[in-house]
């Protein structure tokens, strides 16, 4: 009851009306998927916002226990389907850590380039859909123009535009096709100017500022306590980026900044995403510059199939490939946790192996799922319309929340 009195008070006068429960979703254009929020409200103000999830639950972890290690990679595409590359990456890195496999330099650079492109495309959609939710419809059209360029690049790379299944245990599915590097370089060259365009539309826009500044504020301490990660955490001023703090692949070789906000409101989370897009394109430019020639897959016959051209010409290679695909490989007994900085936050895989060809247990630490816990503390006491901004600023994707 104290809660209610304090939030509904207006200049010291307490106005208490009958509490109303409002169901937002699961079919609602601004819940970014099948999220159902049960909002308890006093007039226009939120007393409690309780997320009700699970509409898309497919039991990924149970499926993983019944598949070979390599067979689970396409399923990870369907987690955060706006950034499949990083899901692939996190899973294959966890398996590689488990078996103690190191991949060649060129493979690492390709992984960095594709996951940074993925980050840009995910942030573009996050910011675009956010604008759409708050009434700035133009932005999503601009954002999709550039997202289209990235999807074209991915289509060149692996033929798919949404579920790539590009990374594999021990490397990537194929080397960069001819023309990819040039096209990617063109993209990196024009992209920062395009980000300036988005900023011209939004950053100084009075409506955008009023809808986002001071909305959904969360302190740095609370953000850490609630398990927020990624741009949403950095918006509160905690400079934790896994790429910088515990670098994986070759991230320690690039010069890039980790942007952070100061107030922890929706606007800060927006600014962090915008700046991260710029930094990601800087990383890609440097990676294209530094990338060495050489093989892309580890030469470890026990775990990795031979190159494609050998499979089509050499009988032994074909048998080897067939054996790996149909029987899989045995993985040492043990347990590992490996996480990467995905566009939404810390995406981790915890794998327990009992020494067989199938994982004993796979646990997916999905950033959107954990981040969703902050919807309630962020929107308490705010107006109903602010909940829309709060959800957009957390950028949840329900493939990942519901697993």
């Amino acid at each position: 009851m104290e809660d209610i009195v304090s939030i509904a008070s207006n200049n010291g006068e307490d106005i208490i009306t009958k509490e109303v429960t409002l169901n937002m979703g699961p079919q609602h254009p601004s819940t970014h998927g099948v999220m159902h929020l049960v909002l308890r409200m006093q007039g226009e103000k939120i007393v409690k916002a309780e997320p009700d999830i699970g509409f898309l639950h497919r039991g990924m972890e149970k499926i993983a226990e019944n598949l070979l290690y390599s067979q689970f990679v396409p399923y990870t595409d369907r987690l955060d389907y706006l950034s499949s590359m990083t899901n692939n990456l996190s899973y294959v890195m966890a398996v590689e850590k488990l078996i103690g496999l190191d991949i060649p330099e060129r493979g690492k650079y390709i992984r960095v380039i594709t996951s940074e492109l993925s980050r840009i495309s995910s942030h573009l959609l996050a910011v675009g859909a956010w604008g759409l939710d708050l009434g700035a419809v133009t932005l999503v059209l601009y954002a999709f123009r550039e997202r289209e360029m990235i999807l074209d690049l991915f289509e060149m790379l692996c033929g798919a535009r949404l579920t790539y299944n590009y990374m594999k245990i021990g490397g990537v599915r194929g080397d960069l096709p001819s023309g990819f590097k040039e096209k990617c370089r063109d993209f990196v060259q024009i992209f920062p100017k395009r980000v300036d365009e988005y900023e011209q539309l939004l950053t100084g826009n009075r409506i955008w500022l009023q809808r986002n500044k001071g909305v959904g504020v969360i302190s740095a301490e609370d953000a850490v306590d609630l398990g927020l990660t990624g741009p949403s955490l950095r918006g509160s001023g905690v400079k934790w980026d896994i790429r910088k703090d515990t670098p994986y692949l070759v991230y320690d070789r690039f010069d890039f900044k980790v942007p952070a906000g100061g107030n922890g409101d929706c606007f800060d989370r927006y600014m962090v995403r915008v700046e991260e897009m710029r930094q990601a394109s800087r990383i890609i430019a440097q990676a294209l510059e530094q990338m060495p020639e050489g093989p892309v897959n580890a030469d470890v016959p026990e775990f990795v199939s031979p190159p494609r051209r050998d499979i089509t010409t050499n009988m032994e290679a074909l048998i080897h490939h067939f054996k790996l695909i149909s029987h899989g490989f045995k993985v040492p007994k043990g347990e590992v946790y490996s996480s990467i900085e995905a566009p939404k936050g810390e995406l981790g895989f915890y794998i327990v192996s009992d020494g067989s060809e199938r994982p004993f247990r796979v646990k997916i630490r999905a950033p959107s799922f954990v981040n969703l816990q902050s919807v309630d503390p962020m929107s308490r006491g705010a107006y109903f319309a602010d909940v829309v901004a709060v959800i957009s600023s957390l950028d949840p994707v329900f493939g990942e929340v519901d697993k």
């Binding site: 934790w240 515990t246 646990k363 697993k403």
Partner: protein, 175 residues
């Protein structure tokens, strides 16, 4: 693992911080310590869990203020119990630690929500998938499955295709 093997596996500062310091403080409550691929795991006594977690969070050297995940593992075949695993991260020190408790079927684990609020959803998920009860959790109910669902899907004896009912003709017949 033997003490000297653990020492060999880890860099000296990590060993003194993540193994020795914790073992000195809670000697008897640490049942087992293992190191695999540089990751430290402590299996701890169920009764001392919350006290250990509070220590790990508040101790100025350790500062494990970030709880990344809570999950269950069904080890009933090998160990005759479930394992509840906690993944911790220290943002200033940049290191990770894994804490485990073992719990028999129909036993409860103390909730760590008073220590880290982020344990809320994760413990609910573990309850939903394994049926492990967390004592002291403010809102322990199913999170993914419908509230009236029977059985716990991630247990090893739960069939992959589910149980047969009017909505699921391909499920396994209930015995």
């Amino acid at each position: 693992m033997e003490e000297k093997d653990i020492e060999k596996e880890l860099p000296a500062p990590h060993y003194s911080l993540l193994v020795k310091k914790i073992k000195d403080r809670f000697g008897g409550a640490i049942l087992e310590t293992t190191v695999f691929r540089g990751e430290v795991t402590h299996v701890v006594e169920k009764g001392a869990l919350v006290e250990i977690c509070r220590f790990l969070k508040q101790e100025p050297d350790l500062q494990f203020k970030f709880l990344s995940d809570v999950l269950g593992v069904d080890c009933r075949k090998s160990l005759a119990c479930f394992e509840v695993v906690y993944h911790l991260y220290s943002i200033p020190n940049k290191n990770r630690l894994r804490i485990k408790v073992r719990v028999r079927e129909n036993e409860a684990v103390p909730s760590v929500t008073p220590v880290w609020r982020s344990a809320d959803f994760a413990e609910r998920e573990t309850f939903d998938m394994f049926g492990i009860v967390f004592n002291g959790h403010p809102n322990l109910k199913r999170i993914y499955m419908p509230l009236d669902w029977e059985g716990y899907p991630l247990r090893k004896d739960y069939p992959l295709t589910g149980y047969k009912d009017q909505y699921n003709p391909f499920g396994v017949e209930k015995v």
